[in-house]
Symmetry: C2
Subunit: 340 residues, 2 copies
C-alpha cells in the first residue's frame, strides 16, 4: 500500500510517506554497508578519514546505496557482493558532493558547515579524488567488468552534467530541455546506475536490468525536481540546507525557467538582474518567492516530479511483487512528498 | 650509450641528454595515443574538449604514456592494447594536473595560463573528474582487471600524496622522510603504474613486472626531486613555469628541508616567517636562493635525484637489452640533467 498524501485533515493526522519500509527491509545490509564505508575511508593520512567521516557521519539518507541493496534483494539475490558495491555507489556520491561544494561555494550541506568551509577547497577536491579512486578499487576487488562499466559510465555522465550546469548558470536562455538534460546527467545517472548494479549482481536479464535502470532514472529526476523546489520553499531547519542557495548562485532550475517564461517584461528584467548579472539586493529572494508562487512555478515543477515518479512506478511493473516493490513505491512517494 | 653531462667545455659543445631516443622509438605509438586522447576527450558538452584540449594541446612531454609504450615494446609486445592504456595514464595525469592547479592556485602551467586561471576552479575540478572517469571507461573497454587494479591503486595513492602535501605545507617541521613519502605517492606512483601497465599488457612474469615498476618508481622520485630544484633555479622562459611557486605557496620541498636543517637560527626564522607564517616581502625569494646556495641544498637534492636515477637504471638490469633499455637510461639522464 502506498501512502499518497500529506494532507492535514481536521483532527486527523495521516501518516506521511517515508523511507521507513525501505529502511526496514535493508536494515542489516545498510549496517554492513556502513561498516565497509568506515573501513574503506581509512588511510594513513589522517585528514582523509577525518574529512570523509565528517561528511559521511553527517548522515545522508543513504538513498542511493539503499537502491542498490533493494534492487539486488528484490531480484532474489542471496549473496553479499551488493554490500561492497552499494558502498562504491555512496563513495561516488560523496566524492561528487565534495567536488560540488567546491563548485557551488555553498556553506551548508546537510545542515552542517560543508567540508570545504571547514578544511578548504583544496582538501575537499583531493579527498573527493581519494573516495572516487577507492570506489574503483572496491569494484576491482569485486571483479565484475559489467559493474565497472556501469559506474565508470555514470561517473563520466555525472561530470558532464555538472559541467553543463556550470554552463547554464547565469543564463536565462536556459530552457526546460536543457535543464532536464542537466539533471538527468548530474543526478539521475547515479540513481539509475545504483539500481542497475543491484540487478546485475542478481544476474537478471537485460530486460529486467533495463526496468531497474528506468526506475532509478525516473526516480532520480523526480528527486532532483523536488530538490530544486525545496531550494525556494523549505525551511532551512527542516531541510538542513540554506534556502535560496540556487538563487544566490544564479543556478537556473525548472521553477525559475517556468516563472521566467510566464513572466512579464518586468519580471524577466528581475530574473536577469538577479541571476544573469548577479546583482542581488535585500528583498530579492522574497520577490523571487512571490513570482514563483504567482506563476505556479513550484506547483508545476512538483507536478513534473509526480509525472516522473509515475514513470518510475510503471518501470517497477515487470519486476517481482512483494515487500521490496512496495517499499520502492513508497520511496517514490517520499521523494515527491518532501516538496510539501 | 648514455650521455651523462651537460658541461660547457671551452669551445666544445657536448650533446645534452634528451628524450630523443625514446621519442624516436615510440613515435608511431605516441601518435596513435594522441589520436585516442583527442577522440576520448570529446563530449557533447563543448567546454569539456575545450578545456581538456587547452591543457593537452599545451603539450606536456607525454613522459608517462611513453613509459607505458616503451615498457610494453621493450618486453616484446606486438599488439595495440598499450595505446589505449597509455592514453588512460595521460588522462589520469591530466586530471591530477587540473585538480592540482585548483589546489596550488598556480597561475602558470607549462608556460601558459593554467586552466583554472582561464575557466575557474569549478570547471577545472569537473573536467578533471570527467577525464578521470573517461580513463576508467577506457580501461573497462580494454577489459583487464589487473590493469584496472594497478591504475585505481595508483589513483588512490596519488590522492593520498596530494593530501599529505597539503598537510606538510607551511610546516617547517616536515622532514626528509615525510617529503619523500609525499613525492613517492603524488608523483612516483603514476610513473610506476605507467611502467607496470606496459609490462602487464606484454604478459611479463611477476618478477619482470616488479622490475618495470621499480624503474618507474625510482625515475619518478628523481623526476620530482629535480622538479623541486627547478622551482628555485630555472628561468621561467626555459621551464615554462613560474620560478618560486613552491616558495610562495609555502610548499616544503627537499631543498628547503635541507637548508632549514643546516641553517642558523636567523635562517630558520627566515624560513618560518616566509613559509609557515606566509609573510613574504620583496627580496625574500632572492634571499631564499642565496640560502639554498650557501648550504648546498640544491646540489644535494640533485645528488639524491642521481642516486634514485641509479636505482632506476639498476632495475633495468634484468630487462631485455636493446634500444629500449638504452632509451630508458637516456630518459633517466634527461630527467636529472634538467636540473642544470
Amino acid at each position: 500500500m502506498t501512502i499518497i498524501a500529506n494532507v492535514e485533515l481536521e483532527g486527523a493526522s495521516l501518516e506521511l510517506p517515508s523511507l521507513d519500509a525501505l529502511v526496514g527491509l535493508v536494515d542489516d545490509d545498510i549496517n554492513a554497508v556502513n561498516q565497509v564505508i568506515l573501513g574503506q575511508m581509512q588511510s594513513h593520512v589522517p585528514l582523509i578519514p577525518e574529512l570523509a567521516g565528517y561528511l559521511i557521519a553527517a548522515g545522508g539518507k543513504r538513498l542511493r546505496p539503499m537502491l542498490t541493496l533493494a534492487s539486488a534483494r528484490m531480484a532474489g539475490y542471496g549473496g553479499d557482493r551488493h554490500i561492497k558495491l552499494a558502498a562504491c555507489v555512496e563513495f561516488i556520491h560523496t566524492a561528487t558532493l565534495l567536488h560540488d561544494d567546491v563548485v557551488d561555494e555553498s556553506d551548508l550541506r546537510r545542515g552542517i558547515a560543508s567540508a570545504n568551509a571547514v578544511w578548504g577547497n583544496q582538501a575537499s577536491v583531493l579527498v573527493g579524488d581519494f573516495l572516487f579512486s577507492r570506489a574503483f578499487q572496491l569494484m576491482v576487488e569485486d571483479g565484475a567488468l559489467d559493474v565497472l562499466r556501469i559506474l565508470s559510465n555514470a561517473s563520466a555522465v555525472i561530470a558532464e552534467g555538472e559541467v553543463m550546469q556550470l554552463v547554464t548558470s547565469n543564463n536565462m536562455q536556459t530552457g526546460e530541455a536543457e535543464y532536464l538534460a542537466v539533471i538527468e546527467a548530474k543526478t539521475a545517472a547515479l540513481f539509475e546506475a545504483a539500481c542497475r548494479v543491484g540487478a546485475v549482481v542478481a544476474e537478471q536479464s537485460e530486460a529486467q536490468i533495463e526496468r531497474h535502470g528506468a526506475f532509478g532514472a525516473n526516480l532520480g529526476i523526480a528527486f532532483q525536481l523536488v530538490d530544486d523546489v525545496l531550494d525556494y520553499s523549505a525551511r532551512q531547519s527542516t531541510l538542513g540546507k540554506t534556502v535560496g542557495d540556487d538563487f544566490r548562485e544564479g543556478k537556473i532550475t525548472l521553477p525559475v525557467v517556468l516563472a521566467y517564461q510566464r513572466g512579464s517584461a518586468k519580471d524577466r528584467a528581475f530574473w536577469q538582474r538577479c541571476l544573469e548579472q548577479g546583482e542581488q539586493r535585500d528583498g530579492d529572494l522574497k520577490t523571487a518567492f512571490a513570482l514563483l508562487e504567482e506563476h505556479g512555478a513550484l506547483a508545476d515543477t512538483v507536478d513534473r516530479a509526480r509525472s516522473y515518479g509515475d514513470r518510475a512506478c510503471e518501470a517497477l511493473e515487470g519486476l517481482p511483487e512483494g515487500a521490496y516493490k512496495l517499499a520502492l513505491k513508497d520511496t517514490v512517494e517520499f521523494c515527491i512528498s518532501r516538496a510539501y
